[in-house]
Each structure stands twice: as structure tokens, then as C-alpha cells.
Amino acid sequence: MYIYDEYDQRIVEERVAQFRDQTRRYLAGELTDPEFLPLRLQNGLYVQRYAPMLRIAIPYGLISSKQMRKLALIAREYDKGYAHFSTRQNVQFNWPALEDVPDILAHLAEVQMHAIQTSGNCIRNTTTDQFAGVAADELVDPRPWCEIIRQWSTFHPEFAYLPRKFKIAVNGASEDRAAIGVHDIGLNVVKNDAGEIGFRVLVGGGLGRTPMVGSEINAFLPWQHLLSYLDAILRVYNRYGRRDNKYKARIKILVKALTPEVFAERVAAEWQHTKDGPTTLTEDELNRVAGHFSAPAYESFSGDDADYLAKREAEKGFNNWAMRNVHAHKVPGYAAVTLSLKPTAVAPGDATGKQMDAAAELADRFSFGELRVTHQQNLVLADVRQADLHALWEAAKELGFATPNIGLLTDIICCPGGDFCSLANAKSIPIAEAIQRTFDNLDYLHDIGDLDLNISGCMNACGHHHVGHIGILGVDKKGAEFYQVSLGGDSGRNAAIGKILGPSFAAEDMPAVVTKVVDVYLEKRTPEENFIDTFQRIGMDPFKERVYAATH
């Protein structure tokens, strides 16, 4: 992974000193609340329902065991002993004291971490595929590009006060596990016929109140021009994005108003002035950054590990876990493993300090000391020998990481919701738990197969409900908490926004509603279909008829 040099380290340390002074001035009454607000937000600090919430960047989801142990220490010393891994591959602490935040940032700087631009109307943490660098279907490793974008966006002086927040995602595989279609900018690293690397550039995707899939504005941007082209997009947005209404301020609204074609022309016109300038990336810089992501010292195996395959045959529990939580690796004899943070009755994405320490231990023992955080709110060990999988499974079971549900209905993406967040209309975690309890039969769950169920407690869509195959949105109905269901969303290569099923439901009806939706799928599916395939074939009506027929 990327290791800071003296420059990177100095910038992060100077940030700590800057924020320490800003906090001192705020506590001394020299800064008003509205003035401190953008300063603390650009450092990931929200004032939440019960206490400040501090969001720490995990750049593109990559974290070392040493960094994970530091997070565990922060959880213990400054929080209530746990942390929450978010849908943007970041980590959040829900109970720090405001005056402790500078000290927490100093701890983070010791292990090359920070909270820079994890919130506020600026360029946020760049996200990518959790299997970057190891996925069998990968064409180009996206991580060097993510790091290059991280450095370019860090304290970019022109774009610190954008109309609204700005999120960039990068994908380099044939599957899209980074959901680039629903980001302000989605970058697909591609190779042209000559084998040269470039980017397919999507702009204007996003969730929130006006969910949209991004539009392509450049089919092949040669890699050397990545940063000057991003500068051009951001400059057009900074100048012409709406600032009169925060709900219409995201770049997607500007792209739609201008049309993607006109937006692309504006960007191209702006770019002509800066193209080929000093911001043009160099081979040296690419090599320098890419060198940090070279392959670890893999052992050489000729193919799958025979003992691993035999154990799968022999032990049903191990096989269930391997089917869902073990993923193909580009190197023979290795696998990537998801550690589930979603056992039933735990808030999705939550981990205790003890679990974080334990995950770090597993990373050291089995996966070259590195972990990844996924946007589905789980952890990944990306480089595990197949021969070690059984031992890893045993250890993960002990630690509560082995729920064999990755990609299944109970692997729910869920925001903190009304239990924690001051923006929420409704609670989300209890809904997730009720659904997990209803679908507790593992064979049944495996039979249902791949199904993304996402829950957001409000329109801001932190739980990505628009792109859940089944999406659930908490709404306020005359002061009561209700839930609106949508079907057919998809965050992958065929990104789509789900369609609303119909009138919303009370919390206690939600498990039954989901059961009915799943029943329709099970009755109508063909042998090769997953839920989303059946939905696309038969449409909304059969689901609607079943769900509403029974409730009236």
C-alpha cells in the first residue's frame, strides 16, 4: 500500500496543527458556530444527535494492520469501544469529545491516516473495488490512480468550497464493484487497442434526493491528462453549479440542465487551456506511485489447493462460508476473503475495538498485514493462501466474522439511521435486524442467492437504497416512521435506480413485505436467474400485486 514520504507526512502533521488551533479558537469563542462548521466538516467532524461524529478517511478502503490497531485504540480511549465502517469505505466514531479531536488526529497522523475532506462541500475520499489488485477479472489496478487523485484533491485550493460534496470512484475490473455509475465522477480504467491506459469518464451520477446514473463525457482520456481533465470538470462545476438550493447543487443537476453533451463541450473548452501543462502526469510519477502497490511475496502454487477443496466437500459449514465469503484471486492457490461485519442483531458495519485488533491479527497471520474496507461495510483479507482458509474460517467464527452471507439478503447495507443520525427520518438498524431474523435459515438464504438489500434512514441515501435490488427508505409520515420500498436498483455494470413499489409501510410490516417480494421471485425465477434478473424480466406488477393484495 502507499507509504508516506516526508512530504505526505508533513502535510498531514501541519493539518493536525491547523485543526488544533481552529478547535482552540472555537472553544475560546473566537470562531462562531457557522464559521467553525466548514472547518470541522472538512475534517470529518459532524455534530450529531448525541455527540460529535468523527469520520476518518480510509483512502480507497485500504488499511494496514498497524492502522487498524490504531483505530481500535481510538475506539477504546476516545469512544465507547467501537467504530462504524461506512458505505464510503471510511470509518466513523460516534462518541468522541470535540476537544479530544485534535489528539485523535495526532494519533492518526502517527500511522499515516487523517480525516481530511471526509465531509463538507469538497472532494471526498476516492473509492474503488475492494478486490483491487487481486480480482481475477481486473484489467488495470485502480489503486495507483486513486492515490494520485487523493494527492491532487487534498487541499485543492480552488475546490474547497464547491456547491456541494463531490465523490469520485474508480473501477479497473470487468465487473463494477465500485458503483462508478452513481458517483459525481466515475472513472473506468481501460486500455485502448494499442494497449495504452486511459479512462472512460462518467459524470453526474449520484444518489440522494434526485438519484441518477452518470453520463459518459469522454470515452477514452489518455492517463497523462487525468488531473488536468479533472481540474476542468471541477472548474466548470465550481463556477456554474447551482448554489441557491442545496438539494439542486450536486453536479448531476448541472449536467442534466446543460445536457451531458453540452457539459462535455464546456469541459473540453476549459481543458484546452490547461491540457499539456505542468499537471500532465509523468511516467516517473505513475511508476513511483504504482511501485507502492506491487504484488506481495506470493508463493508459487500450480492451482487450487487440494486439501482446501476436500475440506469443502467434507464440511457443509465450511463450504457455505467458502461459497459466499471466499472470492476468486488472480494468483493460483490464493483467495480473497470477506470478514462479515453483519451478524444478526449488530448494526451493519459496526466493529468493537477487540474485533478491530483481532482483524489486524488475522491480517498479519494470513494476508500480508493488510485489510480492505468494502462499501458494503465488511472487511476483506485480499491475499490468503487457499491452504490457510480453513484455519482462517475457524478463527473468524470465534471472532464473529464468519457469517456466511456475503452478497445475500442479510448482508444488508444500512446507514446508522435515526438511532444515531440527526438527519434521519426513521430508524434503519432495527429494520435490518428484523429482516435478518426473518431470514435466519441459511439454506433458504443461499437458495435465494445474490440479493442486495439496502436501507437508508432518509433521502440522503447513505445506505444506498436506490441501488439495492430491494431498497428501503425511511420516511416521515405525519410524525411516524414509515418505510418506502423500491425494487430493481443495481450498483454494478448495469447501474440502475430502483423503482418505488407503492405506498410505504409501518416498521412492523417490513419483514412480511420483504418475504412476499422474495416469494414472488422464488415462484417466478428460472434456474439460472438471480433476483435482479427475474425482476428485470417480469417487471414490477407481480410484486406489487402480491404485496398490496395481502395488506388490504
Partner: protein, 165 residues
């Protein structure tokens, strides 16, 4: 009393910033004036004929392209921040410097706060009118918040990746 930081030091203010609805009538001939964009666009001949210094100010929703051909006439271009969270004037400043080659003073006016100064300086501002209720002496410190930067901007056209040792 206006507090003006210019090239990293507190200086005495000599310019008069005229409000947006200013008309030509009764305008001083010899004072140093920063006039609103509309006044310049309507009366550039008369303004050029004055003896005093001339500057122009643009609000955040006005575009520097409007004065791109007139820059030789201005000793000061002031860019307004109606609220500190409105970031459009950062782009206007960079365009003034990087694209149109303006060498005069680029002044930040309006809701200018200490914690924005470092960013403003990077975008080509070299003068800042600090809010009257703030300590301008202390604000000077924030021009030095960071000793190193990643990306190219007006103050440092070479990105760090071309300078890393």
C-alpha cells in the same frame, strides 16, 4: 476601520470600495476607487479619464471573462465572497492570473476569514480585506498554514510530483 493584508503584511488602506449601485455622478476625480463591474461596463471611457487610481470588483456570480480585455486599466481587481462558503471567486482569481495574465493586485473582499487565506493565496490573491471584528495580525499566521502542497496552482505552477526529491 478596514484591515488590509497585502503581500503578507498589514498595510494602510487607501482605496475606496464603491457599492454596487454607484453612479458616475459625483465620483471623486482623484481618489483611488474600486468600482462595481456594471459601472465599468457602462462608463469605461469616463472612468479611464479620471486622475485617481482605478480598480474594479466582481461579485461571485460575475465572470472575469467580462473584463479580460480591459485588465490593463485596473490596478486592483477585487473579487467578492458574499459568504465564505461561496467558492466561485477562487476560480475567478485563478483565471485572472493563469489565463489572462493579470499582474496587478487581486483582492479578496466580503466574508474573508482567516482560515480561507491560505487557499486564496494559492489561487492568486495577494490582498485580503479582513473583517473588522477579527484580529488581522493573527490572521497573517494562516497564510503559512502549510509549508508544502500537492497540486499545481497559481502560486506554485509545478505540482509536487514534479518537485519530489
Amino acid at each position: 476601520m478596514q484591515q488590509l493584508i497585502k503581500r503578507d503584511a498589514l498595510v494602510k488602506e487607501t482605496w475606496h470600495l464603491l457599492p454596487a449601485d454607484t453612479t458616475l455622478e459625483g465620483l471623486s476625480n482623484s481618489d483611488d476607487l474600486i468600482v462595481p463591474l456594471d459601472l465599468w461596463l457602462e462608463h469605461s471611457h469616463a472612468l479611464k479619464a479620471r486622475d485617481g487610481g482605478l480598480g474594479v470588483w466582481l461579485n461571485s456570480d460575475e465572470e472575469v471573462e467580462a473584463i479580460a480585455d480591459d485588465l490593463e486599466h485596473f490596478q486592483v481587481v477585487a473579487l467578492n465572497f458574499p459568504v465564505f462558503s461561496d467558492g466561485r471567486s477562487y476560480s475567478n482569481a485563478r483565471l485572472l492570473r493563469d489565463r489572462y495574465g493579470y499582474k496587478g493586485e487581486v483582492r479578496a473582499i466580503g466574508d474573508v476569514l482567516r482560515d480561507q487565506l491560505f487557499l486564496m493565496k494559492r489561487c492568486g490573491f495577494d490582498a485580503y480585506v479582513i473583517r473588522e471584528d477579527r484580529n488581522a495580525e493573527e490572521a497573517l499566521q494562516s497564510l503559512k498554514d502549510f509549508s508544502e502542497v500537492y497540486q499545481a496552482a497559481t502560486d506554485q505552477p509545478q505540482p509536487l510530483f514534479r518537485r519530489r526529491g
